[in-house]
Symmetry: C2
Subunit: 324 residues, 2 copies
């Protein structure tokens, strides 16, 4: 039997992780409308933008404008990615409540895509953390390819523990694991979280859900069983997976509306209203001109199906014919 918590927290990443790799550029006004809709839907943490070099993430070159334009709700945490110290300075200046650092645990991937070693990427993130902490803001560290890499295969769990130890020594206390490719399996997910939670009891670990293999529902429950304290998704499944060597872009972020549906059905509280999450996914789809890539927006909930199955009393016209 899984050891599932009675509640967990949901972080919504569509405006940053979703839009970062979106095939179409989205204007600042639309991004602001998306973030505001997510605020109204009640998400406790929203990943708004990234403070990167505009050449690195052209889709998010308007980071300061978005941060300045959103309507912030007191108590909601507005997060921004800061890939380095300069990014952290900008994020703090732009009033981000939480700064997200990032390193990918595959040496091959990090060398190819960032021209540095994993240790150098961790160094960079630790500097971003130090500045963020000095500014009195929250910091969370993303560890990409925590489970598997298309170049290296399975990432040794010892490598993950070593990276977390380094971050922990530097004072980082909030870390999330991402599969990035979305090919991790539930036993690995459960085991790795359990090891990390056991080794670093003063840290909180989250699971950022990617889903290429279709295993995500099992991985989500496995992460919670292993002690993950929060989960990350993107409405509509926004954010295709990492472009693969062949160039195609598979499913990426798990749709938040399916995530919340699964948790609610499994008796795990999120503090969110599923119908409002579904509604904001539909709103996001409308804003972005796409179809939500989720089960619940297409096939409904148990409540919506019970409603659809209810017999209806026909209404009669004056001629006595039944109207459907």
């Amino acid at each position: 039997m899984l050891a599932l918590p009675s509640r967990t927290e949901i972080v919504e990443v569509s405006p940053r992780d979703g839009l970062q790799s979106h095939s179409r550029a989205v204007d600042t006004r639309t991004k602001i409308a998306l973030v505001d809709a997510l605020t109204d839907a009640g998400f406790p943490v929203i990943e708004v933008t990234a403070f990167s070099h505009p050449r690195a993430i052209p889709n998010l070159a308007d980071a300061e404008a978005v941060m300045a334009g959103i309507t912030r709700r007191p108590g909601t945490i507005y997060r921004a990615l800061a890939p380095n110290l300069r990014g952290a300075e900008r994020a703090v200046a732009a009033q981000a409540d939480e700064v997200l650092g990032l390193a990918t645990l595959s040496g091959t991937y990090t060398a190819k895509n960032q021209n540095m070693t994993v240790e150098q990427a961790l160094d960079q993130a630790i500097c971003a953390f130090a500045l963020t902490q000095e500014a009195g803001r929250r910091f969370v560290m993303a560890l990409g390819m925590s489970f598997w890499c298309p170049y290296e295969g399975t990432i040794p769990e010892a490598d993950v523990l070593r990276a977390v130890e380094r971050l922990h020594d530097a004072g980082v206390r909030r870390i999330y694991l991402a599969g990035s490719v979305g090919m991790e399996d539930p036993r690995h997910v459960s085991r790795l979280f359990a090891r990390l939670v056991g080794a670093f009891p003063d840290c909180a670990f989250g699971y950022h859900v990617h889903d290429r293999a279709g295993f995500a529902p099992a991985n989500i429950l496995a992460a919670l069983d292993g002690g993950a304290r929060w989960l990350e998704g993107a409405v509509c499944g926004l954010g295709g997976g990492m472009a693969m060597p062949g160039g195609e872009r598979p499913p990426g972020n798990y749709p938040t509306e399916d995530l919340v549906h699964l948790l609610e059905a499994s008796g795990i509280g999120t503090g969110l209203d599923l119908s409002r999450v579904i509604a904001v996914a539909e709103r996001a789809a409308h804003l972005l001109g796409l179809q939500p890539n989720s089960h619940v927006t297409q096939w409904g909930t148990r409540a919506s199906q019970l409603e659809a199955a209810r017999p209806r009393i026909p209404a009669f016209t004056h001629s006595g014919d039944a109207l459907q």
Copy 2:
């Protein structure tokens, strides 16, 4: 932590449960080719056809011809659905190794669709079982809507236990649970299997995987954790879900190729070669003129991605240009 077995058995249902509700009629020759391909792929149990009234299941009116035309491999179990005593007689005459009985545990659904009570449906199945047993063949009972019904909501677990007790008293020892609608949640699945396995230790229970909500991977592991001894899928996800009151047909049977992929990734043996399962799904898709509705046929396995990521030595033409 989940208590997962080291191995489980896969039953392949595409030729019957898949084709039964397929939107296009498939000719006898194609059905035979499908079954033969599944035999070659190594499935231990294949659900070939149904011995129903041709008006009840027009797609499978050629049951005798299909059974007579397939090339049977020694050791493979060829199963056929028999909704009643007459169906069981025909199945036995057609040399089915295993007869599948069926009842749906929602009284409202059974009244609407079969014009009888659940008890009458169980009676009918028990008669089919008695004849099958007399003929020395295997029998397995399908319990549809074991978890939830769009008319009645959650099916009380006590109702399921009562139905199983009735079947067990009659001598039935192999029973599978199906969600039918595919909206069941993992805690319910795990709990119900554990209760049944605990109450009827001399029975073997299987889980027939439907997936409307997208929870299937979690439900699959939950079923195994609860003590299910086998799993049922359909290659390509063939077999749309039950037509809902609005008329639309959502996802139904979980794709066998994704099922086997999940199990293999989770270290659970199936006796099947995943690459052969993927190949037969692609063959089935070709035979039936459709796209497989599965993750693994579209997005690959870890092995295929490692292969795709390998650097390639360019081949040079006589002019010295590198060919990709």
